[in-house]
């Protein structure tokens, strides 16, 4: 079907298969930041923001994106300027292999929009759906704290 939606601030129309995953659809549209780590909704690498909420795009179908507003990491730094969350990830060193990073950033974005001044416990709860095998998460907590402090 023809999916009409807003992607990173631009109105888009694109053909999608009925059973195509939102993950594959967005990647096909060039949003390569949306990563597949498990395909089962367990790792959070494919996290995007749909209508302000963080969702795992591997468990969503492309047609469900119709008439929604979608953000991926590509949209956060569109003008070459990093979003405060991205900046915080870079500055505290919350990035190692980088495969989890786009999903982490999107989860943090949705989370901080809802809860701009979180406690450490709240950050952990809010980011629980995103796995990272490299960093041990300590610096990810620091990055979200730092982004909250500056936001």
């Amino acid at each position: 079907m023809l999916v009409r939606f807003n992607l990173n601030g631009e109105n888009i129309e694109a053909e999608a298969e009925d059973d195509e995953r939102a993950l594959d659809f967005l990647r096909r549209l060039g949003m390569k930041s949306v990563k597949e780590g498990c395909g089962e909704g367990e790792c959070g690498a494919c996290t995007i923001i749909v209508n302000g909420k963080n969702v795992v795009s591997c468990l969503m179908l492309a047609p469900e994106l119709d008439k929604t507003e979608v953000w991926t990491v590509e949209g956060l730094s569109a003008k070459g300027k990093l979003d405060p969350i991205q900046k915080a990830f870079v500055e505290v060193g919350a990035i190692q292999c980088g495969f989890c990073t786009p999903g982490m950033v999107m989860s943090a974005k949705a989370f901080l929009n809802k809860n701009p001044h979180p406690s450490e416990e709240e950050i952990k709860k809010g980011m629980e759906g995103n796995l990272c095998r490299c960093t041990g998460y300590f610096k990810i907590v620091d990055a979200v704290k730092r982004a909250a402090g500056e936001g």
């Binding site: 949003m31 390569k32 930041s33 990563k35 597949e36 780590g37 498990c38 395909g39 089962e40 367990e42 790792c43 690498a45 991926t72 990491v73 590509e74 956060l76 730094s77 990093l82 991205q86 990830f89 870079v90 500055e91 060193g93 990035i95 190692q96 292999c97 980088g98 495969f99 989890c100 990073t101 786009p102 950033v105 950050i123 952990k124 709860k125 980011m127 629980e128 995103n130 796995l131 990272c132 095998r133 490299c134 960093t135 041990g136 998460y137 300590f138 610096k139 990810i140 907590v141």
Partner: protein, 769 residues
């Protein structure tokens, strides 16, 4: 360096810097292999064995082939070269032939390439394979009976041993003797990016391979064999790699061979990315190791004798097992000065997933056992676990368990002292006693571990232990560095940039480190064994120094100043008399004067003496040490354990990149904690049941300790770049042991199995009642 003044302070080494690849990664621009789009690209899928052991009677691909959109369905008949893979022992078929046995559930019988992934998957289901089911070997015990054989020559592939001193005399001389059995289970690397390769075919050139990998040179030697083409027709370029931890050491050679076959036959680019399930089902894990330990000590806690027998479950194929075993062997008696040591380790085939490389490489399993024994001995002797370790710790002049004399850079004792200090150990102990008096259903415990890590490949891998680099300074003063080791998240590119910047005296942001490409730099061995900083680092450093020395010569000549008064620092070239020039401007001058501004670097490991019959000799070029103290809380009603605090001190020789070091240790700690506590591979008839993250549980952000204090001991290693050793693996190695010791302390029963799952701990608690 000849001709140029050596500085004492460093302008970039040891400073806090940002990762060089952070921007690309945080903006989603970093290109992992699945992100490559190529015109007419096909998608590959594997057809896997349905049994742990069976004879393949017939493979029928006719139905799969006629599906619309299918471009190739390949079996063993389509392999132009050798159908045999394996980095150490070539015991693994690329595609299992008719008439032969599949030896585990992940064996590959056919390959499919199609226009879309969906079509490829449908076609794979249409490949019909007729099997004759056979009795599989599923345990080490069954394998040792040799009733059924996984491979024709028997189920024990290799045995390794150490004979140091006189073990009988050592025990006779001991006041206390302890014995016990231990078991360490599998662990899955669980890198977040699954295995993936893109192979492209080019009539003029051959095959170019991009992929997620640790060791491009392994891939470059495997693929030509399978395709039956010469090595100069295969070019391997590493793509951004989303974590590896050993899991992308030799496995990408197999993935690349499969993918290259599809590209070879279709003459099209083929992308083969494993699903998480295929990845966990087929690729190598940390080895399960069963061990028996016997320790003899004097009354005052001095270790007199250690006797160890261990069996490693290699699974269906040897992959890297023989070299993993070497590390298990050397690390089995941990970091102590023991006069009498006897170790025997066997590698055993079973009809299960092959085991291979994983951060720590066969050492965390035996260190867990040894460190449990040392803590148990302390308990028996009414000594503090710290004191017993201090008493037996290695120092300059000590002899390791392979009788190697340690001559320099032995920070072991300092790591013990630092761990005590940063944990406020006496106060921590007091708090635990207080907590346990007040709480009936929750108990806390403290665990200590002290470990040794042999840096790089060691005596058994000397033929691979060299590394190269190619450095080019451009006329604008920017620099390209090619080196033979890979960035997989650990920060190799950043530390190499720092080394190049320091060695050239140029600003770090002028340096670009390119992904390894086999056509630029000679085989630099694998990116494993925490060897990149020392090997890649030294190669890059020496290339940079040669160029700098030529630039200095030019500067001296044109400015008429003595060469030994010139310094290069952070983009500026200076002399003591105030003459100053920008690095880039000097580079331009050098170009105008035809100075050679490109250079190769090559670093070879110091040669080691080793006797494989006795296990005596110089096992590794140098060692790193660590001491760790953890605090856990066990829920006595459920058996659930939480790590609350961790304190860890690591001897790294010299801190080059402190931010990167902290990141490595944090990640290693949490991965080691997962292994100690709950990462559990479950199997049924040899098939892995836990093949995705809903069943194979790795630590989440909620599982990490409230506090992790990290400390570094600096004790320069003279052969390391600026004195550095390695950190990649030692970051994980002490943790499973420390966690197990802490649980034992909390519940008053010895943990003898890792992961110490909730169920296992609960059973132990019940036994006490």
């Amino acid at each position: 360096m000849q001709g140029v003044t050596e500085k004492h302070g460093y302008f970039i080494i040891g400073k806090e810097v940002q990762r060089v690849d952070a921007f690309q990664k945080v903006t989603g621009q970093a290109k992992f292999v699945a992100d490559f789009d190529m015109k007419d690209m096909l998608y590959g899928v594997l057809v896997l064995s349905k049994y742990a052991r069976a004879r393949v009677k017939k493979i029928d691909v006719s139905k799969a082939k006629i599906l619309k959109g299918v471009k190739a369905v390949l079996t063993y008949k389509d392999i132009p070269g050798e159908n045999q893979l394996g980095e150490v022992v070539a015991d693994m078929p690329c595609l299992v032939p008719e008439g032969e046995e599949v030896r585990y559930h992940g064996d590959v019988v056919a390959l499919v390439a199609a226009d879309t992934l969906k079509i490829a998957k449908s076609a794979a289901k249409l490949v019909e394979v007729e099997y004759e089911e056979l009795t599989p070997i599923l345990t080490i015990e069954e394998a040792l009976k040799n009733e059924y054989k996984v491979h024709p020559n028997g189920n024990v592939l290799t045995s390794k041993r150490i004979r140091k001193g006189n073990i009988e005399a050592g025990f006779a001389d001991s006041d206390v003797i302890l014995e016990d059995d231990f078991y360490a289970h599998y662990q899955e690397q669980a890198y977040l990016e699954p295995q993936g390769i893109l192979a492209t075919f080019d009539n003029n050139y051959g095959i170019t391979i991009y992929g997620s990998m640790q060791c491009p040179y392994y891939v470059q030697s495997a693929v030509p064999k399978v395709l039956g083409i010469p090595m100069n027709q295969v070019r391997v370029i590493q793509a951004e790699t989303g974590g590896a931890f050993g899991g992308k050491e030799d496995v990408p050679s197999y993935v690349a061979s499969q993918c290259a076959l599809l590209a070879y036959h279709t003459k099209k680019p083929v992308l083969l990315v494993y699903s998480r399930e295929v990845d966990i089902q087929t690729t190598s894990k940390r080895h399960p190791i069963k061990s028996h330990y016997k320790l003899g000590l004097s009354r005052d806690g001095k270790l007199k004798a250690v006797e160890i027998t261990a069996h490693m479950d290699m699974g269906a194929y040897a992959t890297l097992s023989p070299i993993v075993m070497y590390r298990s062997l050397v690390h089995a008696a941990s970091a102590y000065d023991i006069p009498n040591v006897k170790v025997d380790i066997d590698g055993v085939y079973t009809n299960k997933v092959p085991c291979g490389a994983f951060r720590g490489f066969g050492s965390p399993q035996v260190l867990f056992a040894m460190e449990s024994m040392v803590s148990e001995a302390a308990k028996r002797l009414k000594m503090d676990p710290i004191d017993i370790r201090m008493k037996n710790a290695l120092r300059v002049g000590s002899r390791t368990s392979t009788d190697q004399v340690l001559t320099e850079s032995v920070g072991a004792v300092k790591t013990i002292e630092h761990a005590v200090k940063i944990s406020n150990y006496d106060e921590l102990k007091r708090q635990v006693i207080e907590f346990n008096e007040k709480n009936k259903f929750k108990k806390r415990g403290i665990g200590v571990s002290h470990i040794i890590y042999g840096v790089s490949l060691g005596a058994a891998g000397q033929h691979l232990d060299a590394a190269g680099a190619l450095v080019q300074v451009h006329r604008d003063g920017t620099i390209n560095v090619h080196f033979g080791n890979t960035e997989m998240g650990q920060g190799a590119k950043t530390v190499i940039s720092m080394i190049a910047a320091e060695a050239l005296g140029q600003k770090m942001d002028k340096i670009r480190v390119d992904n390894p490409d086999t056509s630029y730099v000679q085989d630099s061995g694998p990116t494993v064994a925490s060897r990149t900083t020392v090997f890649g680092g030294n190669a890059v450093k020496s290339a940079c120094e040669s160029i700098k020395s030529r630039m200095a010569k030019h500067f001296a000549k044109t400015r008429k100043v003595p060469i030994d008064e010139i310094t290069f620092e952070n983009g500026t070239v200076k002399t003591s008399n105030g003459e100053e020039e920008d690095f880039g401007k000097l580079a331009q001058e050098c170009y105008d004067a035809n100075v050679k501004m490109i250079e190769r670097g090559w670093f070879v490991s110091p040669k080691l003496y080793w006797n494989p019959e006795t296990g005596i000799g110089e096992a590794y070029i140098t060692y790193a040490y660590a001491t760790q103290i953890v605090l856990v809380e066990v829920d006595m009603l459920t058996g659930r354990t939480q790590v609350i605090e961790g304190y860890t001190s690591h001897d790294v020789g010299k801190k080059l990149n402190p931010v990167g070091l902290v990141g490595q240790v944090q990640g290693g700690f949490v991965q080691g904690m997962g292994y100690g506590l709950f990462e559990e591979i479950k199997t049924s008839s040899g098939k892995i049941l836990t093949d995705n993250f809903n069943t194979y549980i790795i630590p989440t952000i909620s599982d990490i300790p409230k506090k992790l204090v990290i400390d570094f001991v600096e004790d320069d290693y003279s052969q390391g770049p600026f004195g550095a050793k390695g950190i990649g693996e030692p970051s994980l190695m002490p943790t499973p042991a420390a966690v197990a010791n802490a649980i034992s302390d909390a519940i008053g029963r010895r943990i003898k199995r890792i992961p110490a799952t909730q169920e296992y701990v609960m059973n132990l608690i019940e036994e006490v009642k």
